[in-house]
């Protein structure tokens, strides 16, 4: 087929109206949150003393971390789906920097004897199980939206899907977990989110070629 023939065929293909990027990502993020919420409330649900917990700084700060990671991940993901766009990877440092600052503060606030206990907590297996489980639907939905885009680095973009989905899962999970110390949060949440990130990268490599 000659290139001119291909151009003629392409120019005739005017009926194809693809979902715009803004709309696709909005639907994907809404779908992700709704599906993650359904899985969360159908399984572990929020902790019993939620009303008292929201009065405490440590509990609330978990959401500062997970939401800043989710928002920055989503922003970087959207850029990664556009060919030639600058991908502001450095924005991903916001949550880790906040997290390490909180760890430093916590180490000063707690006596050294209880550091290990705070970091190990009581919920690490629940954390490592349910953050990936709640994140599963968001990974799939966001991967679909990524396929609608045009990421020139499929594995990296898939990893960003996983990171964003993992942060959404972690946000819900944080409402369940009673281990509020930054020492716990900065050990087990990153491991759980890393699992989801690896899954997203694999899905991106396999299914987001275009």
């Amino acid at each position: 087929m000659r290139t001119e023939d291909l151009i003629t065929a392409l120019a005739a293909d005017t009926s194809s109206t693809r979902t715009g990027q803004d709309r696709a990502w909005t639907l994907a993020i809404l779908g992700s949150v709704v599906l993650a919420g359904l899985v969360f409330f159908a399984t572990i649900g929020p902790r019993a003393d939620l009303m008292a917990a929201v009065q405490t700084l440590r509990f609330d700060f978990k959401f500062v971390l997970t939401l800043s990671l989710a928002l920055s991940g989503f922003m970087v993901l959207r850029a990664a789906a556009v060919p030639g766009a600058r991908v502001p990877l450095r924005a991903l440092l916001i949550a880790p920097v906040l997290g390490f600052a909180a760890v430093g503060t916590e180490l000063m606030a707690l006596p050294a004897g209880v550091w290990a206990m705070a970091a190990v907590g009581k919920n690490m297996l629940v954390c490592l199980t349910f953050i990936p489980l709640i994140s599963l639907a968001p990974v799939l939905v966001l991967t679909l939206a990524l396929r609608n885009g045009a990421p020139t680095r499929p594995a990296l973009s898939g990893a960003l899907v996983g990171l964003t989905a993992g942060a959404i899962g972690a946000t819900f999970y944080a409402a369940h977990c009673t281990d509020d110390s930054p020492l716990f949060v900065m050990v087990w949440y990153p491991i759980a989110i890393a699992l989801v990130t690896a899954m997203g990268a694999a899905l991106g490599r396999l299914f987001v070629r275009w």
Partner: protein, 180 residues
């Protein structure tokens, strides 16, 4: 790409995205002329690759992914990033790895070189389509028939011709994303 050329192509694409497709063939032709010299330079002989394949795969991608261009941004970087992705992808499909510096794309002027070889990849992909899709894509692309003429000739509804054309082109493009 000069700023003036970028503006010209951006204006054409904005019109296309707004529903005025009258300048679309001209836009795609200009993009082909921009990409061809880059593809020739990046794909030496012996790579088992035909530069014209890159041109065609880039055009298909530009077409199917045109909704990802942000109308407030210049279109040049978007086009070059797609071409670069398609060159890397073509090597990947043949089991090579290649690193391309995006800077190599930025200052390329559209060459006046003529197309000499027929691209093979798109032809092979076309051969893999269902009979109906292939007939529609060939009638419109190769023979230059309109949607209406194709519908009449093949005894199909016009909407069915449009769907077959779009699915056929999408299927051709999808063949290149596969690791084969």
């Amino acid at each position: 790409m000069t700023p003036a050329k970028d503006k010209e192509l951006s204006d054409l694409m904005r019109a296309v995205l707004a529903g005025d497709e009258s300048g679309y063939a001209r836009l795609l032709g200009d993009i082909a002329r921009l990409i061809r010299p880059i593809a020739r330079r990046k794909i030496g002989s012996g790579a088992g690759l035909d530069p014209e394949d890159i041109v065609q795969e880039t055009l298909l991608a530009v077409h199917l992914k045109r909704h990802t261009w942000r109308p407030e941004e210049p279109i040049g970087p978007w086009i070059y990033a797609i071409a670069r992705y398609k060159i890397i992808d073509a090597y990947r499909r043949r089991g090579h790895r290649v690193e391309l510096d995006i800077a190599a794309f930025a200052d390329t002027l559209a060459g006046e070189e003529k197309q000499t070889v027929l691209a093979r990849d798109v032809q092979r992909a076309l051969d893999c389509l269902s009979d109906g899709q292939r007939q529609v894509v060939s009638a419109i692309g190769v023979e230059g028939a309109s949607i209406e003429e194709t519908a009449k000739r093949l005894g199909m509804k016009e909407t069915a011709v449009r769907v077959a054309l779009h699915r056929g082109l999408a299927a051709i493009a999808a063949k290149f994303g596969k690791t084969d």
